[in-house]
């Protein structure tokens, strides 16, 4: 085997490695306290913006290091003391490590989406439960559907916080049909629904472009209705600490929860607390 072939193979092998996602924020002097965070991929975009806003208002006060990994990772990391803040887009679970404090920082709407060829006007809780649990399997049985044919259910993988929220808010005691196809991220659900006329899925409000977001119990899924409280499918974003927050972490979380500037950042794409 020649050297060139080996180089080609090495390149091919290296290409299969997956890059880890972690965005270091502002570099600062080593003496400053560092706030580390990991967890939910839904909360992370908001956390980046909040960190940037905090440093703009209080330059040089702290350093941030924010990684992602999923809600479960954030909760476990903070429980084990590996990070100072665990980001979670799901509510506390009985199986979480003990002694954690969940600090609510924002709220986020979850929308049920269909293909734009199927702009279904409204879905009631009962209809959503019937569709996702598989009792109704054809769009012809759903009043207001723009087409007929099988219903392709797109759900999220079990680790997802969005999946937790959808289960809790929309499905209650029902479970998603075993025929459903599970995707690993909001973006993949959006893409699957965008490219399949028969599909139905659920995503965070941030991901409804190029698909149709159905109204839920008569209320359109948009930022305004989510903010006003009219829209029912709203979940919480949390910053989790081990025990009550102390020191710079406490100052930061207080700023996020109480400062009007922080809540204005939240209000650009998410639902502020006040």
């Amino acid at each position: 085997m020649s050297r060139r072939t080996r180089a080609a193979i090495a390149a091919a092998c290296a290409a299969t490695a997956v890059a880890a996602v972690s965005l270091p924020t502002h570099a600062a002097a080593a003496s400053k306290p560092t706030i580390t965070a990991s967890g939910s991929t839904s909360v992370a975009p908001l956390a980046f913006q909040l960190a940037r806003g905090y440093l703009r208002q209080h330059p040089g006060r702290v350093k941030f290091r924010i990684a992602q990994g999923g809600s479960d990772v954030g909760v476990a990391d903070v429980g084990a003391g590996r990070v100072s803040i665990g980001m979670s887009s799901r509510d506390p679970k009985p199986s979480d490590p003990t002694g954690l404090v969940f600090n609510k920082i924002a709220r986020d709407a979850v929308c049920v989406i269909t293909n734009s060829a199927n702009p279904i006007a409204n879905l009631s809780t009962a209809q959503i439960q019937a569709i996702f649990s598989g009792t109704v399997r054809d769009w012809s049985q759903v009043p207001g559907a723009g087409l007929t044919g099988t219903i392709d259910i797109v759900t999220r993988t079990p680790a997802s916080g969005t999946q937790d929220a959808f289960q809790k808010i929309f499905l209650g005691s029902k479970t998603v049909s075993s025929t459903a196809s599970a995707k690993a991220s909001n973006g993949l659900v959006q893409q699957a629904v965008k490219s399949d006329r028969n599909a139905v899925g659920y995503v965070s409000l941030d991901f409804v472009r190029d698909v149709h977001a159905a109204a839920y119990n008569g209320v359109a899924c948009d930022l305004r209705n989510a903010k006003s409280g009219a829209y029912g499918g709203v979940r919480n974003f949390w910053m989790v600490t081990r025990g009550p927050a102390t020191g710079p972490v406490r100052t930061f979380i207080n700023w996020v929860q109480n400062s009007s500037r922080a809540q204005a950042i939240v209000g650009t794409h998410w639902v502020p607390l006040r």
Binding site: M1, T5, V73, K93, D96, S195
Partner: protein
């Protein structure tokens, strides 16, 4: 010095195997050999393990990996067989029949294709192929006929295998081309002097002596296909389902999810002990398969090497 390095490599492999095996042990302890069998809806089992959190009961470990193993065998097997046929024929063309100008373009392009990151192939799969298959190849009657068992929406066996084949074929072409180039010209000339045509000389002399390299290429491609996670996670349909060849044409549209894709989708939750043990168990199966593959190829090559030129 070099010897020490080799020992270090062996040690790393041994340590890795031991570590993975220890972490995987609870999965086999609770399931026994049924772990390799089908025990109902595998996605339901994964979901139970993720949600049970820190203190799983023994029943929570229940896991039957067969749909995932079968999906791995199907995607890897079909892609390697189809890809090998393509790779062999294209390599023969490039080395023996292609005009020089074309060869100068083809060889770098093949190398480039071999180095494209798998996530790019995955994007092609979900943005182009899956919608095409869903819109034009799967009829609504076919969807309805199996709606209570599985949903056919586009991503599935066909899309996975097509993209996987495109991914691994260039690696095989590159290796086989090198090997065919290395066949001494005089050997081929000898055959031609005995009166056989170019095509026959190619098959009976060049391809024959290049067998070890062809095998090496196939093994390498196989290893890449076995370990392919991101692309298959995107394009395979995301459902732990075992496609059934007895379903006729529907078989090729059925969704599935191989082991590597399942691992990458569930690493997020490996802080829960039950899912951690099973993720490690799946990794162990993949690790042992690639080791067995390499060892088997090494055994096979020993017998071929007598007249071999490369590999």
């Amino acid at each position: 010095m070099l010897g020490a390095l080799a020992v270090v490599v062996l040690l790393v492999i041994a340590l890795m195997l031991t570590f993975v095996a220890i972490r995987a042990w609870p999965a086999f302890q609770h399931n026994g050999l049924h772990w390799f069998g089908a025990q109902g809806d595998v996605d339901q089992q994964i979901s139970t393990m993720v949600n049970t959190g820190a203190n799983p009961s023994p029943a929570d470990y229940r896991f039957g990996a067969w749909p995932l193993i079968w999906a791995t065998i199907l995607t890897t097997g079909i892609a390697v067989v189809v890809g090998l046929a393509f790779a062999l024929l294209s390599a023969i063309f490039i080395v023996e029949f292609s005009p020089l100008a074309l060869r100068r373009v083809l060889v770098p392009v093949v190398r480039l294709l071999a180095a494209v990151p798998s996530v790019v192939y995955g994007l092609v799969g979900i943005l182009v192929l899956a919608p095409f298959v869903g819109d034009h190849l799967i009829s609504s009657d076919r969807r309805t006929s199996v709606e209570f068992v599985i949903q056919l929406s586009g991503p599935g066996l066909l899309v996975s295998v097509v993209v996987l084949t495109v991914m691994i074929t260039p690696i095989m072409i590159a290796i086989i081309v090198e090997a065919l180039h290395a066949v001494p010209r005089s050997w081929k000339e000898g055959a031609v002097a005995l009166g056989v045509n170019r095509w026959r000389a190619m098959w009976t002399v060049s391809v024959r002596v290049a067998r070890p390299a062809i095998l090496a290429g196939a093994v390498l491609a196989c290893a890449r296909a076995l370990g392919e996670a991101i692309m298959l996670s995107m394009a395979s349909g995301g459902k732990g389902f075992a496609p059934n060849p007895a379903d006729g044409l529907t078989f090729v549209f059925e969704p599935l999810r191989p082991l590597a894709a399942t691992i990458v989708e569930n690493v997020e939750s490996i802080n829960a002990p039950a899912i951690r043990a099973n993720v490690y168990a799946m990794s162990l199966v993949l690790l042992l398969s690639t080791l067995t593959l390499s060892f088997g190829a090494w055994m096979a090559k020993r017998s071929m090497r007598r007249y071999g030129v490369a590999g």
